[in-house]
Amino acid sequence: MKKVSTYLLMGLAIITTTLLNVSIGKLPPLGKLLDPFQGFWQNAEAQPINLPPQLSLPGLQDSVAIYFDEHLIPHIQAQNDTDLYFAQGYVTALHRLWQMEFQTHAAAGRMSEIIGPQAINFDRLQRRKGILYAAKNALRQVEADSVLWNLAQAYTAGVNAYITSLGYRDLPIEYKLLNYRPEPWTPLKSVLLFVKMADQLCGYDESFENTHAFQCLGKEKFNFLYPEYFTDQEPVIPKNTPWNFYPIPIKAAPLTIPSPIAHINLAQSNPTNGSNNWALAGKKTRSGAPYLANDPHLALHLPAICYGIHLQSPTVNVAGITMPGIPGVAIGFNEAIAWGMTNAAWTVRDWYLIDFKDDTRAEYYYDNLLLKSQSIVEEIKIKNSASFYDTVVYTHSGPIVYDDSFPDQHKRSSLAMKWTGHQPGNELLTFYLLNRAKNLRDFEHALQHYHIPAQNFAFASIQNDIAMEIAGQLPARWKDQGRFIMPGNTAAYAWQGLIPKAHHPKNVNPKHGYISSANERATGKDYPYYYLQFYEECYRNRRINQVLSQMKKIDEKAMMQLQNDNYNLPAQESLALLLSYVDTTQLDAMQQEAYQALLDWNFQNEVEQIAPSIFKAWQDQLNAKLWESLHKDGLPMRQPSFYHTIYILRHYPKEPYLDLGEYATLKDLISDTFKQAVQALASWQAVHHKSYKWGDYRKTTIKHLASIDSFGLQQLRVNGGEGIVNANSGSYGAAMRLVVSLKQTPQGWLSYPGGQPGNPGNPHYTKFVDAWCQGQYIPISLTKEKRTADNGFTLTLQP
């Protein structure tokens, strides 16, 4: 009997210890998690806001009033700037602390600390790309400016005031699930977030793909498949805009293209991280006042990328969206101006092959010199495991990202990454100044400090000025420089300088009354500098310009409609040509139906229609079949864009460079891809037991940042698609939509797929998602008129 009781006791002791201390798989100790007094149950909220009307926070100089409107957008009113940014830090942490910290750790390559060894390669890449190095450089600029340093520290203090108030019970749910605690916030962490965003937007280039393509296809075929300028393009700065300057002289070097670099599975940010923006002068609008509109496209996740906010102090009154973790307003409007950005998609990142003297990699050859490199040992901490150490070698051309040990153990050359992002400007200052700008001159002055990423800034003011200016550090290149991987052992291939800011492409108050950008080519061929873009939109820009040029008496509804425009211009321009290749006499019943559906289509990518699905399935098959031969060697290669594919089919159908594979004629190939598309759709229908309406066939998913499925949203039915103004594709889409009317007191309308609180247990976690799917907006205002106790809550922060 004694033995039984002893074993029983031991068993119970083990169970207890497990409940309290042991993580099983991905779950934290269950006893802690399930405790209704301390665990996850405490994160469930019945009301959207659960705060006392007053809070005392040491660190404040004066009281701060924060009015949370019915959408939980905080309208912060402070009596000085230090308190203002302190309050912004506090409130943003209140709603999004976990997201802020998770994302800054991702930037710094510290994911393995939180989620374990599966993140090691991700972290190694972040370290090797020099993200932290760039952030430290940026921080130095902030520290040197007393106003900004004060602001950054105040924001940090606000965030930390929130963090120190958290016992285990109050921790955001993800901390409980992943079993860790928040660290104190620092200004470096804010800057890291900015560098991460810059990396997402301009940490992309095509040097590898171009190098492989050139070596495998030869010069003629390469130029045929990847022309630098398309004939029918509408660049951001309209063709025939005069350039009133002489370019700085650049000395070209002979083009030398290295052999393909094998065995690198490139992890690159998505090139279609792009967006739309436009501005209209008063003469095109009903009210006579200008409009500005912006919808940045990014990977969608929850908590949402942006956070709505209104900041007011004696020096500033600005509203819009911020990135949680970064002080100020990133995109928005104040009492005089509105601004927004799209990605200019300029290539500002190049790769150099480094010629090390020996395996120690301590020195490398550079013309007739032997330069010293610098080695940094990066410690990557791993949850519940020993740290991983990676050595990153820095050259004057940047850090070595790929070498014998990364991304895996394989003999390969050392490739250094040269990136404007390593030398950030004072972007925080740009946003500080934009927040307070009163006119066009202030706007242009603010952009002087902006280095990364290269973006198209749209502007509108109550003085009825509109402008589009490309801001950022733009390398001055000679023809083809940077298109391919370059030798890093001679100064001939180094960047010789930057395009002077006064020579940047820009367009101010054009006669036709509007400016727009949608990641298309910045300029026509006549721009005096050579430049590369890693992405060039060919459809959204033309659709936007088409609509804007025809519109008169525009109001905000028209602006919202255009942001949600679902017209499939790629289909409208290509369908007749493609259908002409399909022999209708050879189609079976199902294929006939699909054919007819395409003929009847009104080119709207709407969730209830099936034609968009047929077109997309056909596009996929066509791209796969036509460009199959490009992938046969297993090297990363670019595919010609759909726009260029159609151009080739239309103008060069007999071109020998079109590899028809096993097909005898182009007609056979295109016909067959149509049939394959219908087959794919039929299979889809069989699996899903419903018709392949666009909303179901192309589902939108919004993942949770830590991939906790139940905290994300699956199965969203959303209009739009690629090459369409309402650019949603799977898990990429409009991260935010803003429309601003520049009347005497500007007014805004905002939409984004998420909610203000980042807590999945809060009723507002996904509050705006439905509205975003439907193309609806919430008003965001600079004035106090509609604030009542009924539809909002006021929190007063006291020192």
């Binding site: 169970i15 207890t16 209704p36 996850f40 469930a44």
Partner: protein, 129 residues
């Protein structure tokens, strides 16, 4: 006799639950084990009953607190946590909460009893009724 056992049961359970409810406002879950243990030491029965009463007390406490929260918040979070544990129903999650709490309470209670026995050097008849 019958009444006395029943009374003791109710008293022990109620006391454990009440004490734990108060202490858990500040301390984490291990604190309930101490509460259950203390009650066991002062209202004595045997090992098995000490475990059982502790189990019942905390599992009821935890399940009722969880239910209150769940109803008040329309299962907003339990519906999202349940899939992480392999099922869909918030009700199962509440039951699981009860089970976890119950184990802690039970072991706490039994430990309290064993401690008392140890201190007073009594041998116990391990009487499983």
């Amino acid at each position: 006799m019958y009444n006395s056992t029943a009374m003791k049961f109710i008293l022990r359970v109620a006391l454990t639950a009440l004490l734990s409810y108060i202490i858990e406002q500040w301390l984490p879950s291990w604190s309930i084990m101490i509460c259950a243990g203390i009650v066991s030491m002062y209202i004595r029965t045997n090992s098995a009953t000490a475990f059982l009463d502790g189990f019942v007390a905390i599992s009821l406490l935890w399940m009722s607190q969880a239910s209150v929260i769940d109803v008040r918040t329309n299962s907003i979070l339990s519906a999202k946590i349940a899939p992480l544990l392999g099922f869909q129903s918030p009700v199962v999650l509440i039951l699981l909460t009860g089970l976890a709490g119950g184990m802690l309470g039970g072991v706490g209670g039994m430990s309290g009893h064993q401690l008392y026995m140890f201190i007073h050097k009594k041998e116990e008849k391990f009487d499983l009724e």
